[in-house]
Amino acid sequence: MRVGIAGAGLLGRLLACKLAAEGVQVDLFDPAAGPAARGAAGWTAAGMLSPVAELESADETVFALGMRSLALWPQLLATLDQPVTMQQRGSLLLAHRGDEGAARRVVDLLMLKAAAEYAPQPLTAAALNELEPALHGAPYAWLLPQEGQIDTVQAMTAMTESATRRGVRWHWQTPVSLLSASCLQTQSQTHHFDHVFDVRGTGAGDQTGAHGKRVRGVRGEIFWLHAPGVRLQRPLRLLHPRHRVYLVPREGDLIVVGASEIESEDRSPVSLRSTVELLAAAHSVLPELAEARLVHSETNLRPALPDNLPRIEQSDGLTRINGLFRHGWLIAPALVEDALRGLWHGSTTNPLLNSEFRDVPR
C-alpha cells in the first residue's frame, strides 16, 4: 500500500510513524525548509496534556479524545528510537488573593462539565507547598491529578527519526496545491497513491473538506525561560481575571510560559504586551523566575474550525483531519487511531466528530 500525506506537522509525523510501522510506503509533503523548520504549530505548543482544564473552552468530545490519548502516548513513545519525556503527575490551577471571582468562573465551569472523579481538587496551602515548594503568592490552588505533559520538541524530532528509519520519504519545500481521492498535486507534478491524508492545519486554507467550513489561524505566543535551580514538577495554570497563563517545566532547566490567543494570522514575533502580561503573571507565582533568562520566544498559528473542535472526514482514497486548535498534543493519538481504523476497516466518517454543536454540556 502507498500513502501520501500533505502536512508534516504533529499529525503528519504521527501518521507517518504508524503507517510505516505497518509496512506502508509513505510519502510526506510539506512547504517547510526541512525536518527541523518550525512552521507547524506542534513545535510551538507547550505540550500540556490537560483534558480536564481544557474543558473550559472545549467539549466532551475533546475530553474523551484527550483521555484516550493520555493512555496512548506511552505506547506510542515506546516505539520510537529516541527517548521522549512524558509525565503524568497532574497539573495545578492557581489563583491570587483578590482573584477569587476569576478563579470561580473557571472552576465552576470545570465542575459542571467534568464528571465528579475528574473534578478539580482544592488544595490547602500545606498540600500545595508539599507538591510545589517553589510556588508563592497564589493561595488558591486545585489539583487535576490525571493530567500530564509531553516534550513537544523531543517528540517531533523522535517521530521524524523513527519515520525516516522506517523508510518514509520526505518531500520538503513542497507545498501541496490540490488534493483529491488517491491523488495529490504539487507545483511540479501529480502524485498517485492508494490513500491520501490532508493534515495541513492552517495550510489547508479553503480546502478543508466537504463541510465547507474554513480553517483559520489563531495566533499564539510563548516564551522559554532558562531557570536553573527553579524547581517546578508539573504544569500549572494561573486563573487570572484578564490573562490565561500557563507554566510548563521542560528538560534542561527550561520553563515554557504561554500563551496568548489572538484572532489573527500574524506570524510576526511576540508583542511587548504579551511579553509583559505573560511573564509578569509567571513571575507573580514563581518569584524565583526573576533571574531566569529569556532564551527563546515563538509565535505560531493554531488551526481552528469555526466551532474550535477537531474534525475527521474520510471517503474513498482521502482522509482529512483538521481543527485541532489548541488541543493537538492532547488529542492527536486518538484522532490518528480513529482515522487509521477507518482506513483499515473501511468505516466512514467518525460519528463522534461530526456531532452538531451542543450548547450546554450535561
Partner: protein, 262 residues
C-alpha cells in the same frame, strides 16, 4: 419597539460584544439568540501586524458578518487619544463604517475611561466625520463635554468592564437620564445578570451593551436569549409606566363587607 441610533432604525435594544466566546460558532449562535443587530468588535490586537503594514485578521470577522449584523468597531486597549484616533481610521477603512465605539482607558486596574483623552479623541473623530459612541463613566459633566464635542450618543458604564457587578451607581445613571433627555444613552460594561439589564431599561436607558455576561456563561447561547427577554421586558415596563411604591398595602379586590376579614 423600534428606535433610532445615529439615523439607523433598530428593533433590538441589545448590543452584544464578540470577545471570549468558546468558539466563533458559539458566538454566531449567541448573536442569533440575542436578536442583536449591532455587535462590537475589538481591533487592536487582531489587526496588529509586526511589520506595521495592513492587517492579518483571520476569518473571525467574516464569520461575524455572516450573521448579517452591523459592526461597531471599538478602540479597546487604547490609552491615549492619538492611539484611538489612528485605530478608528483603520477600522473605518477595514469595515467601511463611520461608527466607532471610542474607548480610551485611563486606569489599568479598573479599565475606567480617561475623560480628558476621551473628549480629545471624540472631538477629533467627530470632525473627521465619525459617528462616535464614547464609552464613558456616569459623570454628568463628562457626558456634557462629550455632547459639546459633537457626540450624539453616550455609553456610560454600569460597573467596570467584565466585573459583572451590575449598576453600581443608579443615582448617577438616573441623573444622566433626567438631565439628558433625547440623547440616546446605552449602558455599557458591568452587566452581570439579566436583572441588571432589566434595571437599566427600567431607568429609561435606550439600550444595553454587554459581552462577558453572555460569553462567560456556562451556556452562552441560552444566556443571550435570557438577556434578550430581560431587555425587552425592561423596556416594555419603562414604556408602560411603573407604578410608584408606597408603604401601605392595597388589596386588589375590595374586602369591605366580607365576613371574617379584619
Amino acid at each position: 419597539m423600534a428606535f433610532h441610533i445615529a439615523g439607523i432604525e433598530l428593533d433590538s435594544r441589545f448590543f452584544l460584544g464578540t470577545a471570549q466566546y468558546p468558539s466563533p460558532e458559539v458566538l454566531q449562535l449567541a448573536i442569533k439568540a440575542s436578536g442583536a443587530q449591532v455587535v462590537t468588535v475589538g481591533l487592536k490586537r487582531q489587526l496588529a501586524q509586526g511589520d506595521g503594514t495592513g492587517s492579518a485578521a483571520n476569518d473571525f470577522y467574516s464569520i461575524i458578518r455572516d450573521t448579517g449584523v452591523r459592526l461597531l468597531p471599538n478602540t479597546a486597549g487604547c490609552r491615549a487619544a492619538r492611539e484611538a484616533v489612528t485605530l478608528a481610521h483603520m477600522a473605518r477603512e477595514l469595515f467601511d463604517t463611520p461608527w466607532i465605539k471610542l474607548e480610551v482607558v485611563g486606569d489599568e486596574y479598573t479599565l475606567q475611561p480617561d475623560p480628558f483623552e476621551l473628549v480629545k479623541a471624540a472631538t477629533e473623530l467627530v470632525r473627521a466625520g465619525f459617528e462616535v459612541f464614547p464609552y464613558c463613566t456616569d459623570d454628568l459633566v463628562t457626558c456634557q463635554r462629550l455632547l459639546d464635542a459633537g457626540c450624539r450618543i453616550l455609553m456610560p458604564w454600569g460597573a467596570p468592564i467584565g466585573s459583572g457587578q451590575g449598576l453600581l451607581n443608579p443615582h448617577a445613571l438616573r441623573t444622566l437620564r433626567a438631565r439628558l433627555p433625547g440623547v440616546p444613552l446605552i449602558i455599557d460594561a458591568g452587566i452581570g445578570s439579566p436583572r441588571d439589564a432589566v434595571q437599566a431599561m427600567e431607568l429609561g436607558f435606550d439600550a444595553v451593551l454587554l459581552n462577558s455576561a453572555v460569553a462567560q456563561a456556562h451556556a452562552p447561547v441560552q444566556m443571550a436569549h435570557a438577556f434578550k427577554l430581560g431587555i425587552e421586558a425592561g423596556r416594555l415596563a419603562f414604556e408602560a409606566g411603573i407604578m410608584a411604591q408606597q408603604a401601605m398595602a392595597v388589596p386588589t379586590t375590595p374586602v369591605t363587607g366580607r365576613p371574617f376579614v379584619l
